[in-house]
Symmetry: C2
Subunit: 199 residues, 2 copies
């Protein structure tokens, strides 16, 4: 059974199991043993592939962040106008691949972890900066720079807010409607910013 090149397979299985178990319990109160079991291996082996539980969780978040980035880039390719590109970014946040119970749970845990673990805080900062930069890049083409920064912050806050509010399980009812809330914010704020500037 033991073959060469198991490392990437095992690591992927552990990352996937970590996200799954966080989703199942809604917290990081999951033993490494339970995660390992779900991934089909022993506790010791899990520890041989990840230095610590923290490192395992960080790998899981990097995976989620990576998938999100892929989703954004894929949608951006199909978008031409700044408006379409903004919608693409928002849609990526609320796509079926991202806006799921266990992903949302992981995000919540991530926010808490970022208060305690410096590496998690760093990762969160990077994500935030990148999102902000992406939003501003599009917005400044259609609204004044000052408004662009402001609207970008509002958009990011609302995305996170919808995530947080989507967390209490039992009802993740309407992907489209939640995303629509953010896109509506963008539409109206953009129109308003230009109206004021045009005068």
């Amino acid at each position: 059974m033991p073959k060469v090149g198991q490392k990437p397979i095992r690591r992927a299985a552990l990352v996937s199991a970590t996200i799954g178990e966080i989703g199942r319990t809604g917290s990081l109160d999951v033993t490494v043993g339970q995660i390992a079991k779900t991934a089909g291996m022993s506790t010791a082996l899990a520890h041989s592939y990840f230095e610590s539980k923290d490192a395992l969780f960080l790998a899981a978040m990097r995976h989620i962040l990576g998938e999100f980035g892929i989703s954004v880039r894929r949608r951006l390719k199909k978008a031409d106008t700044p408006e379409q590109r903004l919608a693409a970014i928002v849609d990526a946040s609320f796509g079926q691949d991202q806006f799921q119970d266990h992903i949302v749970s992981a995000w919540l845990v991530f926010y808490v972890e970022a208060q305690r673990a410096p590496e998690a805080a760093r990762l969160l900062r990077i994500y935030g900066a990148r999102l902000h930069s992406n939003l501003v890049h599009e917005l400044r083409q259609i609204v004044p720079l000052k408004s662009a920064a402001n609207i970008a912050r509002g958009t990011a806050a609302m995305i996170d807010g919808v995530y947080v509010r989507g967390a209490p399980k039992g009802g993740n009812p309407n992907y489209k409607e939640t995303g629509h809330l953010v896109k509506e914010y963008l539409d109206v704020m953009i129109a308003y910013a230009n109206e004021n500037n045009g005068k």
Copy 2:
């Protein structure tokens, strides 16, 4: 030292210490012993006043929610128009007494806890419903009902989002500016809703 009528005093001290320790560590990974020590008593005594650690945390959140409610009502008394009353609700969320590091940390932990502990989930639902109800009550006086519900949801999401984004410590810079982000959303959305309806 041991006197009659210590219960409310001790309980208040424990609730306060719980919030403080959550703020200090940014998580619920605080021992009851540490909380008790901060509150100036033994671990055993803390357990005699609260059935469990969960119960202690819930009491802390009820306290925060209670203070928030008081702050809202105090501000509502001074407000006359629906617009002022909406601003009062938002201002309460970002007042100096609410938008503090340890309160924000407690909120984050609360969201995670609500995924696991049914009683926390219940408390969170109640808070959400009340906030929504308050917002809609004011909004429906100045915009169509359908818009009111929509704007209320957006406002609530943005409040939570700003909280979550305010959590990564090191910079809780501008109370007023963050609150302004939400109030701007309200202003613009209200104007937009009426514009569309008037036509």
